[in-house]
């Protein structure tokens, strides 16, 4: 799609009405952050463009609103937005487990690292996964499927005798977004033939077929899914380019406005 650069929001955010730019308010503790939250929210609400940039990099947006965050608070803000508390804990647990087992920080979204982990660290037998597709969990619950059933007619069967078989259309509609978060890790898999050599790189779809080959593979998949589904926070440099209009905001179409409730 053609890029549609967003107009700059108007330059630096001033925190006072004076001619001199106000000195940023420093926040270095959780207590200070809590005390300033209402004020930060108010400022973001006053600048809808900046509020929208919260989804690009929340820490950078807050800093643009006139606050200087200490490294600890900055990390806290980013992690809070990136994952829910429960997911963050699970991620930390998986990372700790895998780091201990592999002797290095796990990088399950890196196909080269994955290849090394499977075939050098775990010494798994390469499998022929060509043309195979992972099994995905149904995105619609049985109850919902039952309710939605009323929209689909019971098609009548063609009751005709024809000299040649009738040729028609087979309609295949995806009712599931096929992404690793939908991997069915409990689905039984056909036994795959061994491959002569490991693949050049191991993506997540390939990794799926090793889920029953070693207990750690499932952990690798779970960590990969968490990492992949974390909120995508841009680097400060990327944030600055988006804010200045040098680079399009990847959420430019979908996120129309971000607004906080104020008490």
């Amino acid at each position: 799609m053609p890029e549609k650069p967003r107009k700059p929001s108007g330059g630096e955010i001033s925190t006072s009405k004076g001619a001199e730019p106000a000195k940023p308010v420093t926040i270095s503790t959780h207590k200070q952050l809590a005390a300033k939250t209402a004020e930060i929210v108010s400022r973001l609400n006053q600048d809808p463009e900046l509020a929208r940039l919260l989804l690009v990099n929340p820490a950078a947006a807050i800093q643009d609103a006139g606050y200087s965050l200490s490294p600890e608070i900055l990390k806290h803000v980013l992690e809070t937005v990136r994952h829910s508390k429960v997911t963050a804990e699970k991620r930390q647990g998986l990372e700790a487990l895998l780091e201990k087992e592999f002797g290095e920080h796990p990088q399950p979204l890196d196909p080269v690292w994955l290849k090394r982990a499977l075939f050098e660290k775990l010494k798994l037998q390469p499998l022929d996964t060509a043309g195979r597709e992972p099994v995905y969990r149904n995105a619609l619950s049985p109850e919902l499927l039952k309710r939605l059933g009323k929209f689909r007619p019971s098609l009548r069967r063609a009751k005709v005798a024809t000299p040649k078989p009738l040729h028609g259309v087979a309609l295949q509609v995806s009712l599931c977004h096929k992404w690793p978060g939908r991997f069915d890790l409990d689905a039984p898999l056909d036994k795959l033939a061994p491959a002569a050599a490991p693949p050049a790189a191991v993506d997540l779809n390939t990794l799926y077929f090793y889920k029953d080959s070693h207990p750690l593979v499932r952990s690798l998949i779970e960590l990969a899914v968490i990492q992949r589904s974390s909120f995508p926070i841009h680097s400060p440099d990327s944030y600055r380019k988006i804010r200045s209009g040098e680079k399009p905001n990847p959420l430019r179409t979908w996120v129309k406005a971000v607004r906080f409730k104020q008490s």
Partner: protein
């Protein structure tokens, strides 16, 4: 674009397909008996046996064109043979005329086997609505035919007439070799010519004779010259041999030999001659002017075609509990498209023609905006039932949110700066973030539906996949959103497509194809018992006014032909 007018669903077929159906129907002897007759009628006072033959071959192909919104103009070659056993001129006892007739057939709906079918009905055809752009085989009628009729009539009347001892013999060459004396008259045969007198046409006929009057010692060859009125109408030529005109056209008798009593003999024989020739009676020859012949063709063709009708679109429910709506047809004359509408949504307005959305495709199916939006809103309401109350809690592995609104609308290519038709999603959600006030996020964006087509021997496999537009590929949050939206969009596409197929008379062919899914006939698989339909949907286009499914169609004759048997090696053996 108006896809379905005041209906939910529309099927559009190109004129080429309509022609194919017509030719297949036309080959069916049950629908179009190609040989009709004998039809016994009275033709210009003559008993006639009429045979009508409809043609459609390489030399004389039948054809059709779209005449107006509700009529197809058929161009059909006909051959009409009239047998007139009593034709005064024997050479005119078998007349074969060929014409090309243009006949308007009405796009109509009628019940058949418990289901309303859409087809062409000729019930309204009258003789005056049948056009005859070409006509051949009409024989010109002239003096030769009249004289042939006279010669023929000669064979049926007495040739020797007596009055007392006097004898009058009338010759016509050697047609009666029993006559005495032999025919030495001049001319030797009956001759005629047309003359005009007093603004009327007469036939001047010369009869060779021999007169024998013993009392006057008179015996001589000679001739009788008469004038008889010739009356022509659009359908006949009548020669009244019984009416003697006044002088100077009255009957004259001449002799070859000079004799003192010749004048007296001639005057005395004249009443005998007039009476004898009156025995020829009134000779009426069917003789059609071109206008009259056209009228005859129009009458016969109208009579032939009036009871005929054939189905073009014949949905069969197959289940009494699933009545199908009557198909309503419109012809789009300019682009040559037959539009079939089903499921009337709004009966408060008169039915009207949809736009042409067939394009260059052989087949296209459309679903109207109202129906699509009904399904979209219904599916969203089922997916998020609490939204009606103002908020719907959403829990995912990636986090929680409260959905406050979610709307979907159809959009044309070009809307929202998107070149492709799409579903424009808008909504608002409160995103729950730990240790931070929950922001309300208003969102909007396009959902596209991408399709791919794979062809196998058994079916064409159409795969539809939703895709959120305007996300960069590396935006992982895309997956979370798509995880919510794709199943909804998928169900919408599935529900709309199957409702469409069900409502337009499509059917399930087989349960499993290629181990994946069911094979469906997207439109009725049989047309009128004469053609087997194989159709395929090749894509899906989204428009503000609904969904368009372009497709392909092929027809196969159901009945077995000589060519079929030959191809299969099943020709009868001696």
């Amino acid at each position: 674009m108006n896809l379905t007018s005041n209906f939910d669903f529309a099927v559009e077929l190109g004129i080429a397909t309509v022609k194919d159906i017509f030719h297949l129907a036309f080959k069916s002897e049950d629908i179009y008996p190609h040989n009709v007759g004998p039809i016994n009628i009275n033709l210009s006072g003559q008993p006639a046996e009429i045979h009508v033959r409809a043609l459609d071959d390489e030399t004389d192909p039948a054809d059709l064109s779209f005449q107006d919104e509700k009529h197809i103009l058929f161009s059909i070659p006909f051959e009409i043979t009239a047998q007139l056993p009593n034709a005064p001129d024997p050479s005119l006892s078998l007349i074969t005329m060929k014409s090309r007739a243009e006949i308007p057939g009405k796009l109509d709906t009628w019940p058949e086997g418990g289901t309303d079918i859409l087809g062409i009905n000729f019930a309204d055809v009258t003789a005056s609505s049948v056009g005859i752009p070409s006509l051949s085989g009409l024989p010109p009628i002239g003096i030769a035919n009249i004289m042939a009729a006279v010669h023929s009539k000669y064979d049926t009347v007495p040739h020797t007439h007596t009055l007392g001892t006097n004898t009058l013999v009338i010759y016509d060459d050697a047609r009666d070799i029993t006559l005495v004396p032999d025919n030495l008259a001049t001319p030797s045969e009956i001759q005629g010519e047309i003359v005009n007198s007093g603004g009327q046409k007469y036939v001047k006929i010369t009869f060779p004779i021999h007169a024998d009057v013993p009392a006057a010692a008179f015996a001589a060859y000679g001739r009788i010259i008469i004038h008889r009125l010739l009356t022509e109408t659009d359908t006949t030529i009548t020669l009244d041999m019984t009416a003697e005109p006044a002088a100077p056209l009255d009957t004259k008798i001449e002799f070859d030999t000079a004799h003192p009593a010749a004048g007296i003999v001639a005057s005395q024989l004249k009443p005998l001659a007039i009476g004898a020739l009156a025995g020829f009676g009134v000779v009426t020859q069917p003789a059609f002017t071109e206008a009259a012949a056209r009228q005859l063709m129009q009458d016969q063709i109208a009579a032939y075609i009036r009871p005929r009708k054939y189905g073009v679109y014949t949905p069969q429910s197959g289940d009494d509990d699933i009545p199908l709506f009557s198909p309503v047809g419109f012809l789009l004359v300019g682009p040559g498209v037959l539009a079939i509408l089903m499921n009337r949504r709004d009966s408060s307005v008169a039915d009207f023609a949809p736009d042409n959305f067939l394009g260059s495709n052989q087949l296209a199916l459309g679903v109207g905006r109202a129906k699509v939006m009904e399904v979209i809103n219904g599916v969203i309401a089922e997916q998020f039932p609490d939204l009606a109350g103002g908020s719907q809690e959403i829990h995912t592995d990636q986090g929680d949110a409260t959905l406050k609104s979610l709307n979907a609308d159809l959009s044309d290519p070009g809307e929202h700066d998107e070149s492709q038709g799409h579903i424009w999603m808008t909504g608002e959600a409160e995103v729950h973030i730990d240790c931070w006030p929950d922001p309300d996020v208003s969102f909007e964006g396009p959902i596209f539906i991408d399709t791919t087509l794979e062809r196998t021997d058994e079916a064409c496999i159409l795969t539809a996949q939703g895709r959120a537009g305007e996300f960069d590929i590396d935006q992982s949050c895309c997956d979370v959103l798509l995880d919510l939206l794709i199943p909804i969009v998928g169900w919408i596409v599935l529900a709309i497509t199957e409702s469409l197929i069900d409502s337009v008379g499509g059917a399930l062919i087989t349960d499993i194809a290629a181990g994946q899914s069911r094979v469906l006939a997207p439109i009725p698989p049989i047309v009128n018992g004469v053609a087997q339909v194989s159709a395929c949907l090749t894509g899906l286009e989204l428009r503000r006014d609904g969904f368009i499914f372009p497709g392909e169609i092929s027809l196969r004759r159901i009945t077995t032909s000589f060519e079929d048997l030959s191809a299969d090696g099943r020709l009868p053996r001696p």
